[in-house]
Symmetry: C2
Subunit: 464 residues, 2 copies
């Protein structure tokens, strides 16, 4: 880049037009006059996934603000301020006494815009970049990385799940002591549950982590979650887990079992929650992985075969019950070729009577129908009323306390292997890792109730 050729990394549309008009580029120190106020600071580059309507300025306070291009009257050039905004890439140190962790990138925020100390929004992903941005990682492990995709988490699907499972399998067999998956938060819990089913008996931890706030914001959870994920990946729990922000302070992260976790707030950092159970562990730099329960899967148990079963059927869907649901909805879904339906019923697993006929018809056509509860907490109990009993006689199978999302993932996985009714049922009802529990942890719902779970001192923290 020569003088006069300004870089406009990540800007498009009206924001690019605006920068061109005033001959402004990224890392320029500028003064912006807009209808919403005047701002002075440094123009930051943008991620290619960001919107095209705003420019982003790092204020001297350290905060970044987005200013709507359409409201900007003028931009004054004050000077250049590049240099310390770049990612300080350094070779990631190798220490043979430390565990070897492999980090896969899928496109979530954690794999981009990670230079939290400087606020730069350029992607950080290679080990050297990550070390430059989050040097604490080198105290925990040796790191290798591989970027598998660069997509939003709502675009994750079977192709990505299978690629992930295969790559994880390969790197564990190559000697990785733990796996981290950088992942967008939207469907992190979906990916955690499908990987639990696809990757059987993993000998090492497989940890999904991401961030709710991008690392160019002071409140970002990106670095904290990544550090905690590295600690979890070197820890004792060999399960597929979600490692995300715990309480409202950044005191510690929580490790959630992949089949029992759900995103429960659209924007808060403290969004992932274990449902119908308590989390596996807390994790922080001081105490490391601090298990909250003893029934986790420990590292390598030699009697169990580590293998992958990377199957997935496109013909499965979630039917979220609502009052007055009409017969023709289910009929049209079955006629569109769907072979597996996970119903999220009301209460103990209910749907209305006008649907009974079409349910019987669908099952007669070979559709596999399973019942979960849309209350999210609690069990399906179809024995309580005749209605439920009738639906079971029709062939609907109740899934105890399996979460609807987990049930969807498991049914897609099972129907990828077989369409035999009994085999599918056996796969569905045989828990692989906690997707069905015998009974609910009596203390786990208290969190929603505002109650005080009396499990270990930790939960006193959890309540803070």
């Amino acid at each position: 880049m020569t003088t006069g050729e300004k870089s406009t990394t990540g800007y498009r549309g009206v924001s690019l037009e605006l920068l061109t008009k005033f001959n402004i580029g990224v890392w320029d120190r500028i003064k912006v006059e807009s209808e919403s106020g005047d701002y002075e600071g440094v123009l930051l580059p943008r991620n290619s996934m960001a919107d095209s309507l705003h420019i982003v300025i790092k204020l001297d306070s350290g905060y970044n603000i987005g200013v709507k291009a359409a409201r900007i009257k003028s931009i004054e050039y004050l000077g250049r301020q590049e240099g310390h905004y770049g990612i300080r890439e350094q070779e990631f140190p190798y220490d043979e006494s430390k565990p070897n962790i492999f980090l896969f990138g899928t496109g979530g925020t954690i794999a981009s815009r990670l230079d939290y100390s400087t606020g730069a929004v350029i992607p950080a992903f290679s080990p050297g970049e990550l070390f430059g941005a989050v040097p604490e990682l080198a105290d925990i492990c040796n790191l290798k990385t591989k970027k598998l995709f660069g997509i939003f988490s709502e675009d994750m699907g079977p192709e990505q799940y299978i690629t992930l499972a295969e790559n994880i399998y390969k790197e564990i067999n190559n000697g990785a002591d733990g796996i981290i998956i950088g992942h967008g938060t939207d469907t992190m819990h979906h990916t955690a549950s499908i990987l639990t089913f696809m990757i059987q008996n993993p000998p090492v931890p497989i940890v999904l982590a991401g961030s709710q706030r991008s690392s160019d914001r002071p409140s970002s959870d990106a670095a904290r979650n990544l550090i905690n994920a590295a600690i979890a990946a070197t820890g004792p729990i060999a399960e597929v887990m979600v490692c995300m922000f715990g309480p409202t302070s950044d005191q510690y992260g929580l490790l959630h079992r992949g089949t029992r976790v759900r995103k429960m707030h659209s924007s808060y950092r403290s969004t992932f929650r274990t449902l119908g159970d308590i989390p596996l562990a807390t994790v922080d730099v001081q105490k490391g992985v601090n298990p909250l329960r003893s029934d986790y899967r420990p590292r390598s148990t030699p009697n169990e075969e580590f293998k992958i079963i990377p199957t997935f059927s496109d013909k499965v869907m979630i039917l979220y019950y609502y009052p007055n649901m009409q017969e023709n909805l289910i009929r049209s879904i079955v006629e569109a070729g769907y072979e597996g339906i996970v119903i999220a019923g009301t209460g103990l697993g209910h749907i209305n009577r006008p649907l009974y006929n079409v349910i019987r018809w669908a099952i007669g056509k070979g559709v596999h129908i399973y019942m979960t509860v849309q209350t999210l907490w609690g069990f399906v109990q179809m024995f309580v009323y005749d209605n439920g009993r009738y639906l079971m006689d029709c062939g609907i199978v109740p899934l105890a306390n399996m979460l609807p999302e987990t049930a969807y993932m498991k049914l897609a996985w099972a129907l990828g292997q077989t369409r035999d009714r009994e085999e599918v049922k056996k796969l569905m009802l045989t828990p692989i890792n906690g997707e069905i529990t015998e009974r609910e942890r009596p203390d786990s719902y208290l969190v929603l109730q505002g109650g005080l779970p009396e499990v270990k001192d930790f939960l006193l923290d959890y309540m803070l």
Copy 2:
């Protein structure tokens, strides 16, 4: 009934065959020998909605147990024990100083099997029966009742909503000082939200109440919820509300705004929660209605016209997003005639890219598509990424923090009035009673987080 002609109220199928075989009737004291053990007690009548596979015995401990008919080897007749199990019907006292409350029955547990003091499972519904079963009611109000339906709450639909709205309108105009609706818990929140839209500017409280445990069980919440509902119906808050069990103890009930409440556990009594906000009030016998906030709708404001708008379209559905959702699903739904779709998207309101074309096609065909979040807590924010902006350009309208169930009810209500795109949008985005709030009560999510909301002393109780 003469000697030798035994009553078998509520028994059918195998359980009736069993009773006939051993010549046993309800209120007989019996000794049962079964594969699961021997039991001695009084045979209770059953509700016609109960299953046909068990007989129910009241043990001397006061507990009722269901014994599977197929496992019973013999039943020995020990004597009669009728009398004090019947509902002690007494004339409901009239006190002109007390408010006049009208109770509508729809079929939920609260309107049947209400004799909690004796354990009888026969329905109690007339004012005299309710007074016999729950004499505390007479300390609170004068009571009239009307049974509108006798159905499970999952079978509630537009016919019932409209009948309810019309009857409530009529009885308020006839002078009722408050309304109680006995309702099954499964879809109580759905009915609460549709009634909020159908009944505009009610001058008096409209309170839905039910029970999670039937009144023949010692842990029943039926009487407590009914008493609290009567207090709420005579109280200061003139909104459509859900009045149900608050914390795990039976210390007090909670009043939830009809548009922000959701059933969150399939079997616990403490299942209804206000989401993204704090409850309207606590309610108990000692303190009455104790508001937790000042922004409730007070009784009769003379400037607002009390009216009903009882409309509902059958052509609306909830589309609950999951990864790998296919285009053909939405296409088949639209081709089946659906005109309104409420999407429950991931994160801030996301769906995958392969759906964009079919969404544009559907909207082009005149389908009204609205976006909510399946995280349940938090707001849709479609301005953050280009994806969301593109979907809005296609015509998807974000619904802020409206709950998916509430959005479904409101869209069905709006499309019952007009199909004009702008009119529907205006109806959807203009809050009638809290279904969209400007921002989330910052303390409201803390309950899920296990956090300590610092709002009034009450919330300390709430945390117990």
